[in-house]
C-alpha cells in the first residue's frame, strides 16, 4: 500500500501510522450532548467501499486524510488534514 504524503510524495505505508476514521476531525463542541461525544469517540461505520481515514507520516509529521476503497484497495485521494479545518 502506498500513500501520497502532501509534503513528501508517494511513500510506502510502513512510513505511516494509522489513526482511524476521519470522524476524528469533526470534534463536537465542549458542551455538546453526550450522544454527540459518544458518536465522535466510539461509533464507527465499517463500509465496504469508500472510506476516509487518517494517517500520520512519521518522518515529516504530516497528518493525511486518505480516501480509499476497502474493497478494491484503491486510494482515491490523499489530502493534508491541516488544509481542511480551521
Amino acid at each position: 500500500m502506498r500513500i501520497t504524503c502532501p509534503c513528501c510524495g508517494s511513500r510506502d505505508r510502513r512510513e505511516f501510522t494509522y489513526y482511524g476514521s476521519d470522524d476524528y476531525l469533526r470534534r463536537p463542541d465542549a458542551d455538546a450532548a453526550a450522544q454527540a461525544w459518544d458518536d465522535y469517540l466510539h461509533n464507527r461505520d465499517n463500509p465496504a467501499g469508500e472510506t476516509r481515514d487518517l494517517w500520520y507520516h512519521d518522518p515529516c509529521g504530516t497528518w493525511v486524510k486518505v480516501t480509499r476503497d476497502t474493497v478494491t484497495h484503491a486510494i482515491h485521494a490523499c489530502e493534508p488534514v491541516a488544509g481542511e479545518a480551521g
Binding site: W37, W63, E84
Partner: protein
C-alpha cells in the same frame, strides 16, 4: 565419476569449468552452468528423493521452480537448508547436498512400507484412524505422523547467514524474460522508460533457451542473447536474473526474492538472498506457462518428467535421457517429440489419445499410458493403443498434459481467472491487478510470433499510460503455429495415479474427498492436502480440480479454483526478516552519558528504545539492592546525578502557543509567567490520562514541554494531530527537540552546592525558586536550567546541547562525589518517586482518569481541553472507581510485588472479590519498609484499612495497610526549600 549421461558438445554449460560436488556423501562431477538436477541426471542419477507420505522413490519432474519431487538439503558449515529444489540449486565447487525424508538411505528407505499400507493412508486417514483415545493424539499419534511424513529437517541452530532486503523503483517491471518479456523490456527501454526485468533463472531467455525456435532467421537462444546484451548496455535498464517475483501487492508494489549468493561457495561479501520490494508504475507479467502432467497409474517413478523439462535438460544441459517415450495430448507434445528427435534423442513411441497421423521419425500410437515398472527408476512403460496393450523398455517417460498459464501474480488480489475451453486452462482476465498487464503464454499466446507481438503490444500500452512514445520497433518474424489440445486429466486404468507429487495426493484421494462430502474445491484441498506442499500445486492444482469436476459432474468453471496467494515460491523467513535480528530488531537510542555509565559498571536497561543505567555499583555491594539503597540514601542526604535526557522534549512556539497548550493540557498554561515551569496533565479525547510532564515558559511565545520517555512519540503525534486538525490557522509550531539536548537531574539537599560549581551566575533559594526556569551559562555553554524535582528533594535539571552532554555528566559526577554524592540509576529513581507518590506509566497505563490519580482538580473548569468532555461523563468519576493509594506491609520487611491483586482481608481471591491491584513497588531505605502504589476501589476513602495483596503468579500473600500515596515529606518542604 564420469558424466555417463552427457551428450558430447551439447548444452549451455561451460565444459572448461568442471565442478565437483557431493550428493548423499558421494562425489560427482558436473560443469559450471549445471543445476544440481541436471548434473545428477548427467551422472545417471535419477533417484533424488522420497515422497512425503508413501516414501515412494522420486526423481526430477521439472526444470524450474515448480519442482515437486527433487527437494534436497544443502549442507554448509554445520548448517543445512532443507527443501532446496535441485532444479534451482546451481552447481558450485564444494556443493554438498543430501536427500531427505528417508532412512537409512535413499535407495533403501524403511518407511517405504507406507506405500504397501496405502489403503489405510488415504486422504483424511489421520482424522479417522487416530481418533481414540483422544489424549493419544498430541503425545503419540501426531509426533509419529510428523516424523514419518515430512520434508527436510533443520539443523536446530541459528541461521547465521547474511540476508538483505532492498527497495527498487521503476516505470515498468517486466516479469519473465521469454519472447514476450524480452520484447516488452526492449520496447520500453528504447522508449527511455526505467525498466526492471526480473527473471527467475540464472540466464535470461525463458523457454527460448530450451526450445530455440527461429526468430528473424536466428536460433531463439542466440536472438535472446543479443537482446539481453542490448538491454544490459542501457543505463535505464536493470536486469535482475535469479530473481523470482513472489507477490503482487497494492499500488504497484511487488515482492521479489533474489538468490544472491546461493550459487557460489559461502562468501563473506555476498548475502545469501535479498528480498526486494519493487515499486513499479506499470508491470507486465510475462511468466510463461507451466506444463502439467497426466495422471496415469504409477506416473511418479524416477525417469518420468515433463516433456518441456526433458527439452530443457537435453538442450540447455546436454543430458542424455536414454530411450524416451512421450505421452501427450496436444500439439506441443508432438512438437517436443520432433524437436527432440532432431536433437538426436531416441523417441521409442509417441502416445496420444488423439488421432495423430504417422510420422517418419518415431512411432505414433493413438492411446494412453496405463502403467510403468521400475522400483528405483523407470524400466518399462505399458500403454494401450488400437492394437492392444504394449510394454516397452525406456529410461524416460515424458508427459505433456497441456499448459497452464503462469497467472498466479495476476490473481494475488483475490480476483479469479476465467476458464478457457480452447486450451483447457485458466486464463487471466483484464485488469485483475491494477497496473499489471499479462502477456505471452501467461496470457494464452502460445506461438513464438504471438508472444513477441504481445510483449511489444503490452509495453506500448504501458508506455502510453506513462506518457512515453513507443519506439518504432518491428516485431521479429517467428513460427506462428496453432496449439490444439484434447483435454486428458487422468487415465481410466487400475492403479494409483498421482496428481500432487509433493504431497502424495492421487486421483483416488480426490474422488474419496468428493464421496465423503468434501466436494467444494476448498474442502477437497484441505481434506486431501492437494496443493499445500512447498510447490503449492503449481503443476497439479488444475488437474486435481478437473478430476474433482469429473467426479462431481459439475464442470470446471463451476468447480472453480482455490485462492492464489503470495508467495509464488517459498521465501525463507530469514530473507523476509533480513536485518531484523539482534541489534537490527529495533533502533537503539543511547544517551550521551552511556559510555561513562558503562565505565562505572552500570548495567544498562531498556526504557522504550533507550538504554538507561540501572544502578552504579560500588565496591562491597553484593546485589543491585545494595546499590539502589545506597543511591536513594545518597540523594536524600547529599546529592545525586541522573541522566534524564530520554524524556521527550517538544519545543512549542508562536503567538497562539499558550492557547494551544491550554487545549492539549487539562490544566491552564496560558497563565504561566515567562521563567516559570508548571506540572501538566494531558488527557486522551476519551477522558483517560495520556501523559504527564512539565511545561516551561522560556519566553512569552516560547514554551518547552516534556513528556515521559515512553510516550514521547505518541504525544508528538497527538500534538501534531490537534494542531493540524483543530488549530490550522493558529500561530503555533511544534518540533521535537528530544535529541538536541542532554539533560541531567541534580537532586538532594546539596544540589544547589553542586549546581553552583558549574554556573557563571550562581543561584540562591529565593532568586531561583521552585518551578523556575531560565537560560544560563553552564561551564561557559549556553544551556537551560529548571528547578524541578522528581525525587522530592531540592532538585534542578540542567540542559546543554547534546554534544556537551558527555563532558557535563563526567563533571557533574566528579563534583557530586566531592560532596558525598554521585550518580544514581533507574532503580533508585523509581524508589525515590514511589516514596513521593509520583506517577509513571505504571500508574497512568491508559485506563485511569485524572480522578483516579487524585488530579481531577487539574481538569480546569474555565476552558475546553482535549478529553475534558469525556472525563466528566458518568462512570469516569465516582466511588466505584479504583483510585490511587499507597500500600505498606503490616510486617515491616515483607516484600510487595507489582501485579498483585487486592482483596479484603478475609475474602477469597476471586475475580468478583477483586478490589484493585498493585502497580509499583520498591524498598524504601528512607522508611525502612517496602512501599507500594496501586489502585483500590474507592481507595481515597479507605486509608487505614488493611487489605490482602495476593500475587497468584508468584504465590505470595501479604497484608498491607492502605495509606496516602505520598509516603515521604507530604507537605513538600524539602523540594521547595
Amino acid at each position: 565419476m564420469t558424466q555417463s549421461h552427457r551428450i558430447p558438445g551439447k548444452g549451455r554449460i561451460d565444459r572448461a569449468r568442471p565442478v565437483r560436488f557431493t550428493f548423499d556423501g558421494r562425489d560427482y562431477d558436473g560443469y559450471h552452468g549445471d543445476t544440481l538436477a541436471s548434473a545428477l541426471l548427467a551422472n545417471g542419477v535419477r533417484l533424488m528423493g522420497r515422497s512425503f507420505k508413501y516414501h515412494r522413490p522420486r526423481g526430477v519432474m521439472t526444470a524450474g521452480s515448480e519442482e515437486p519431487n527433487a527437494l534436497v538439503e544443502v549442507l554448509e558449515d554445520g548448517q543445512h537448508t532443507p527443501n532446496v529444489r535441485a532444479t534451482m540449486q546451481e552447481l558450485f565447487p564444494g556443493l554438498h547436498a543430501r536427500s531427505q525424508n528417508r532412512w537409512p538411505s535413499l535407495s533403501f528407505d524403511a518407511l517405504a512400507v507406507n506405500d504397501r499400507l496405502s489403503a489405510f493412508l488415504s486422504a483424511g486417514f489421520y482424522y479417522k484412524t487416530f481418533m481414540w483415545p483422544p489424549a493419544w493424539w498430541e503425545k503419540i499419534y501426531e509426533p509419529l505422523i510428523r516424523r514419518a511424513a515430512g520434508l527436510g529437517s533443520l539443523s536446530g541452530r541459528h541461521d547465521e547467514g547474511r540476508y538483505e532486503k532492498a527497495w527498487a523503483h521503476c516505470d515498468l517491471l517486466v516479469i519473465g524474460s521469454g519472447p514476450a518479456g524480452l520484447m516488452a523490456a526492449l520496447t520500453a527501454a528504447r522508449a527511455g522508460a526505467d525498466v526492471i526485468l526480473a527473471e527467475e533463472d540464472r540466464e535470461m531467455g525463458g523457454r527460448l533457451l530450451s526450445d530455440a525456435p527461429e526468430i528473424d532467421g536466428r536460433k531463439g537462444d542466440a536472438w535472446a542473447l543479443a537482446i539481453v546484451a542490448e538491454l544490459a548496455s542501457m543505463p535505464n535498464v536493470r536486469l535482475m536474473p535469479r530473481t523470482t517475483v513472489t507477490g503482487a501487492y497494492d499500488d504497484g508494489t511487488y515482492g521479489a526474492l533474489e538468490r544472491v549468493g546461493l550459487h557460489v561457495p559461502t562468501l563473506a561479501d555476498l548475502p545469501r538472498e535479498c528480498f526486494w520490494r519493487i515499486v513499479a508504475k506499470r508491470a507486465i507479467l510475462a511468466a510463461g506457462a507451466l506444463e502439467r502432467p497426466i495422471a496415469h497409474p504409477d506416473n511418479d517413478r524416477p525417469g518420468v518428467m515433463m516433456a518441456s523439462a526433458l527439452r530443457s535438460y537435453v538442450r540447455r544441459w546436454g543430458v542424455d535421457p536414454g530411450r524416451v517415450v512421450i505421452f501427450g495430448n496436444n500439439d506441443s507434445a508432438l512438437d517436443a517429440a520432433r524437436t527432440l528427435t532432431a536433437e538426436g534423442v531416441r523417441i521409442l513411441a509417441y502416445i496420444d489419445p488423439r488421432p495423430v497421423p504417422p510420422v517418419e521419425e518415431f512411432r505414433v500410437y493413438q492411446g494412453d499410458v496405463v502403467g510403468t515398472t521400475g522400483h528405483l527408476g523407470l524400466q518399462t512403460v505399458r500403454f494401450r493403443h488400437r492394437g492392444g496393450v504394449s510394454e516397452i523398455a525406456a529410461e524416460t517417460l515424458a508427459l505433456a498434459g497441456g499448459w497452464n498459464p503462469t497467472l498466479h501474480l495476476a490473481c494475488h488480489m483475490n480476483t479469479r481467472p476465467d476458464w478457457d475451453e480452447g486450451i483447457a486452462a485458466f486464463v487471466p482476465r483484464p485488469d485483475m491487478v491494477p497496473g499489471l498487464a499479462v502477456a505471452g503464454a501467461a496470457a494464452n499466446r502460445f506461438s513464438t510470433a504471438a508472444c513477441l507481438a504481445d510483449g511489444a503490444g503490452a509495453a506500448a500500452a504501458a508506455l502510453a499510460d506513462l506518457g512515453l512514445k513507443a519506439p518504432d520497433l518491428p516485431v521479429p518474424k517467428a513460427e506462428d503455429g496453432v496449439y490444439a489440445i484434447a483435454p486428458l486429466w487422468s487415465v481410466e486404468a487400475p492403479g494409483r495415479a498421482w496428481l500432487d507429487f509433493a504431497n502424495d495426493v492421487t486421483t483416488k484421494d480426490v474422488e474419496l474427498a468428493a464421496r465423503e462430502g468434501f466436494a467444494s474445491v476448498e474442502h477437497m484441498k484441505r481434506y486431501t492436502t492437494q496443493g499445500m506442499a512447498p510447490d503449492q500445486g503449481k503443476s497439479s492444482n488444475v488437474t486435481a480440480l478437473a478430476v474433482l469436476a469429473e467426479t462431481t459432474g459439475q464442470g470446471i468453471p463451476t468447480t472453480g479454483t482455490t485462492t492464489f496467494r503470495p508467495p509464488f515460491v517459498p521465501i525463507s523467513i530469514a530473507a523476509l526478516g533480513a536485518g531484523g535480528r539482534g541489534h537490527g530488531f529495533a533502533p537503539e537510542r543511547r544517551t550521551t552519558s552511556e559510555l561513562a555509565s558503562r565505565r562505572m559498571g552500570a548495567p544498562m536497561i531498556e526504557a522504550g528504545l533507550w538504554f538507561r543505567p540501572s544502578y552504579f555499583p560500588r565496591e562491597g555491594e553484593a546485589t543491585w539492592r545494595d546499590s539502589c539503597d545506597r543511591e536513594v540514601t545518597m540523594v536524600r542526604q547529599a546529592v545525586g546525578v541522573c541522566d534524564v535526557s530520554t524524556l521527550g522534549k517538544i519545543d512549542v512556539q508562536g503567538a497562539d502557543a499558550e492557547r494551544f497548550l491550554d487545549l492539549v493540557y487539562s490544566n491552564t498554561m496560558s497563565t504561566l509567567k515567562p521563567g516559570r515551569v508548571r506540572y501538566g496533565l494531558m488527557l486522551r479525547e476519551d477522558g483517560h490520562v495520556m501523559d504527564d510532564g512539565t511545561c516551561a515558559r522560556l519566553s512569552e511565545r516560547h514554551f518547552l514541554i516534556t513528556t515521559t520517555t515512553a510516550a514521547a512519540g505518541p504525544v508528538m503525534r497527538h500534538l501534531d494531530f490537534v494542531q493540524q486538525a483543530f488549530c490550522g490557522d493558529w500561530d503555533v509550531r511544534l518540533i521535537s527537540v528530544t535529541e538536541q539536548w542532554a539533560q541531567f537531574a541534580l537532586a538532594g539537599p546539596r544540589a544547589r552546592d553542586l549546581l553552583n560549581t558549574l554556573l557563571r551566575d550562581p543561584v540562591n533559594a529565593q532568586g531561583f525558586p521552585f518551578m523556575a526556569c531560565s537560560e544560563t551559562r553552564i561551564l561557559g555553554v549556553l544551556g537551560r536550567l529548571f528547578r524541578i524535582s522528581f525525587s522530592g528533594e531540592l532538585g534542578y535539571e540542567v540542559a546543554v546541547p547534546a554534544r556537551y552532554g558527555a563532558a557535563l555528566f563526567d563533571r557533574l559526577v566528579a563534583e557530586a562525589e566531592n560532596l558525598g554524592g554521585g550518580a544514581y540509576g533507574m532503580e533508585a529513581l523509581n524508589v525515590l518517586r514511589i516514596e513521593k507518590g509520583f506517577i509513571t506509566h505504571a500508574e497512568i497505563h491508559g485506563r485511569v482518569t485524572a480522578f483516579d490519580i487524585g488530579m481531577e482538580r487539574m481538569v480546569a473548569a474555565g476552558k475546553d481541553c482535549i478529553g475534558k468532555a469525556a472525563s466528566q461523563r458518568p462512570g469516569m468519576i465516582g466511588p466505584e472507581r479504583e483510585q490511587l493509594v499507597g500500600l505498606m506491609p503490616l510486617e515491616g520487611h515483607a516484600s510487595l510485588t507489582a501485579g498483585a491483586h487486592l482483596y479484603e482481608e478475609k475474602a477469597p481471591a476471586t475475580a468478583a472479590n477483586g478490589q484493585g491491584y498493585v502497580t509499583s513497588v520498591g524498598y524504601s531505605p528512607t522508611l525502612n519498609s517496602w512501599l507500594g502504589l496501586g489502585f483500590l476501589k474507592n481507595g481515597r476513602a479507605r486509608h487505614g484499612e488493611t487489605v490482602r495483596l495476593e500475587d497468584g503468579l508468584r504465590k505470595r500473600k501479604v497484608q498491607a495497610r492502605v495509606c496516602d500515596p505520598v509516603f515521604f515529606d507530604r507537605d513538600g518542604g524539602r523540594m521547595r526549600g
